[in-house]
Each structure stands twice: as structure tokens, then as C-alpha cells.
Amino acid sequence: MAIKLDYVIRETGTNLFRNVTLTLASVLTVVVSLTLFGSALLLQQGVENANDRFKGGIEFIVYMQPAVSAEQKASIERDLDSNPDVRSKTYVDQDETYEEFKELFRESPQLIDMVSPEILPPSFRVAPRIQDPDVVKALGDQFASKPGVREVVFAFEVVQRIQETFNKIGVRFLAAAVLLLVAALMLILNTIRVAMFARRREIEVMKLVGATNWFIRVPFIVEGIIQTLLGAAVAVGFMTFLIRPFIDELSEDKILPIFQGFTVTDGNLVFTNILVVGVAALIGAIGSAVAVSRFLDV
């Protein structure tokens, strides 16, 4: 079955310009939906990267009672040193803790006045060898019930909170993107249907003189795919030149430290863009294929 390339290009070109408003509507819907879709993916990868950075320094802090005895402290230290899962530990005594406290609350002198080194807990800052949150949690929990220990605080709990928050945002983005993609699919389907209606006389003649079914169908399917790929191209532009710089800007924002470590790598961007183009081609192919099989009686 020889379908001439120049024929397909000529027919598709004519069709795209014949329904310019409808084509534009489908393309714009594709742009918006794919930009949302891609942004949600970028955000999610950004969070993962942020988490990775936190992971490098994941640690837990074993806070002891202020009145911990020397034996208790020595026992905890021995346990930490002998534990193969602990990479390193740092002891922070009450005076150092007080300095940290003063630094942290330097805006609230009355709070500092209320506190003295004796009531603050000394602590071990622990860097584990294995950074899997579950392992770290199990390791830290071993120390929670030791005599003289007040509590064990995990850094990744904070990370988890951030991740959960952004996952919630991401899920909503994705839901909106999926809805819009469905709208795009239906618009493509209708655009192709209108294109076929505009060319019904040609189609009738083609059937009459014995053009094969695929010869009649292919230009319409190509038209659908071109529309979504046009949309994808714009969406890729948006993500590369608008969304990614925006995320980078957020991560450098000192006022919102929650975004620190929030980076999108070139690899993330390329992966997302490829995925967006793939989804676009799929939507275009499905929309036009459905239109062709339902409304082109060949």
C-alpha cells in the first residue's frame, strides 16, 4: 500500500488551515493540559530531589534528660559507637545547646531570659550509615527507651511533611491535567470529524474509485497527531523556559526555606518533555483514530 508522502502533507496542511479556529482550540487545550501535566511531574521530581538532599544528611537527634547521669550518657555513647549502622555521632552539651538556642531565638530575648543551660537537654547528633528512612527510624527507636533519654527526633519527619504537602498539590495538578487531556481528546475528535465533513465529497469520490481505507484515513490521523504535537511543542517551551526557572527561583528563596534543595535537573526536564510529547502523540492518535473509525464509513 503506497501512500504518497507529498499527498499526505498536502491534504493535512489544507485541513489544518481549513478549520483554523477549531484547530486552535484543540491545540490550546493540549498546551494547557500538557503544561499542567508536565509541571506536576516536574514538581514531583523536584520534591524527590529535595528529599535526596535531605537524605544525604539524614540524622536523628537523641535528646537526653538535662539531669542525665554520667553513666547513662557513657552507656548511650558506647551503644552508638558499637552500633555498625551508625556512621558518626556528635555530642552537643548543654552550653552548646544554649548557644544554639540563643541563636535560634535571638529575636525573642525574653524567651532566652527564661532559659538557662541547666534546663536544656544535651544531645547526640547521629549520622547513620544507611539512609533509608525505615532503617533510620528503627535505629533511632532503639535509643528512645534507654535510661536518660528524653526523646529521639528524626530529620526526615520534616522531609516527609514537605513531600506529603507537595504530593497533594501534585495530585490536584494531575487531576486537572487529566480532565483537560480528556477535553483535548474530545476536541481533537471533533476537529477531525469536522475536517471529514468538510471533505465528504472527496471521500465519497475516493471510495468510488477504489482508494484504500488507509489511504483515506491516514491524512486525518496525521492531522490529529500534528495538532497535539504542536500543542506539545508549546508546552515543552513553557516548561523549559517558564516552569523550570520558576522552580529554581523558589529554591533560592531565603524567605521560604521549605523550597531549599528543590531542584529540577536537566535529566528531569528532558524526561518530562519526552513524556509530554509521547502523551501528546498518543492523545492525537487516539482522538483521530476514534473519529476516523466512527465517522468515516469505509
Binding site: K4, R201, E202, L208, V209, G210, A211, T212
Partner: protein
Amino acid sequence: MIKLENVSKVYKGDVTALHDASVEVQKGEFVFLVGASGSGKSTFLRLVNKEETPEHGRIYVAGKDINTLSSWKVPYLRRNIGSVFQDFKLLINKTVYENVAFALEVIGRPRHVVRTQVPAILELVGLAKKMDNFPNELSGGEQQRVSIARAFVNRPLILLADEPTGNLDPATSVGIMRLLDRINRTGTTVVMATHDRSIVDTMRRRVIELDRGSIIRDQSRGVYE
């Protein structure tokens, strides 16, 4: 070339378009289908190029049972059958040349074939000088010549004509009939549905008369009634 065996076709709402029709048309014959509107002439033609499928019976075209033909092979059947209609079915945004060339292009004929065949066929139908005109710049008779050129440019074995002179005045109709006769003389089987009494009576070819879907007369060198 065309053989119908006990063919029945019923449309929705129990409209019987063809009832137990059996007929055989030999290669190179010229056959008139006559009968009142709704007698089944058009259905007969539509069954032969598989635009319709019968409820009962078998239809053979060029020795092949077209009932068992898979749908992807139908286009190849139609490449052997040229079709001409009362309303011409020309594409108004294409020139005469482009209309005829279209029929070859969409079945994938190479460009050099299109370039030689189209002018040749337009010469045959007497429109060589109007190649670059658009259909609405032509008279009805000329438009029908274009449509015949389009149907015949691929040199089909069979030409089906559904009231090709239905929209034309008698003098123009004679010209169209001369053209169809000429095409028939090249060995092409022609089946023509018509209401035109004077054409049938003048040509004296085989006449098949249909009445409410049944063949009531099949006469060689026949007349309209």
C-alpha cells in the same frame, strides 16, 4: 462479467429493493436497466460495486463471489468498476484535469502515468481544451463527460451508469450516449440505469426491466417497453 443468483435486498422498514433477481451480463455487453423509480435499478448497481450487500443470493463480478470479499479488498474491486451518476459528483474546487487525475492519484498511480493518462482520456471525451476549467464553468454535458473520463481513466472492466443523462437535454444526451457506446466498443461492459425512452429505443441493446424489485423482462436488442 456480472452474475446475480437469486439476489434479494431489503432496506429498513421492509422496503424490498430487489427480489430473487438472477441475471448474467457477459463481458463487453451493453445493458439498459429500465423501470419506474424505486424499482431497484440503483440498488442493482450499488450491489455490483458492493456499496450494498444483499440479504440473500450471490453476486459474482469478474468471476469472484463479492459477498465473501473482505472489506479491505473492496477498494480493489472498485478499481475494476467505473461509476457515473446523474449528479456527476465532481469536486468543484478542482479543475477538470485535477478531477480526473484525482481518481488515479488516490489509488497510488505513479505521476508519469497520471501525466500521460489524463490528457489522453480528456482528448477521448472531447475536453482537451477545457482541462484547466473548473466544473462550474462547464455545461451539464461537459461535466458529465468529465465524470465519464474520471470513471474510465483507469480502464475498468465494467462501467456502471446511474441515469447519466437524467439531468441533460436530449441533444446533449445523444453525445453522452455516443461516448458510452465508444467506451463499450473498447470491450468495457456497460450497465446503465435509465428513464430515457428515446435513448433505449434508438440504441437497441439488451434491456432488463425491473418492477418493484423483480426482473420482469430481459430482452436482447430490446426497447423501453
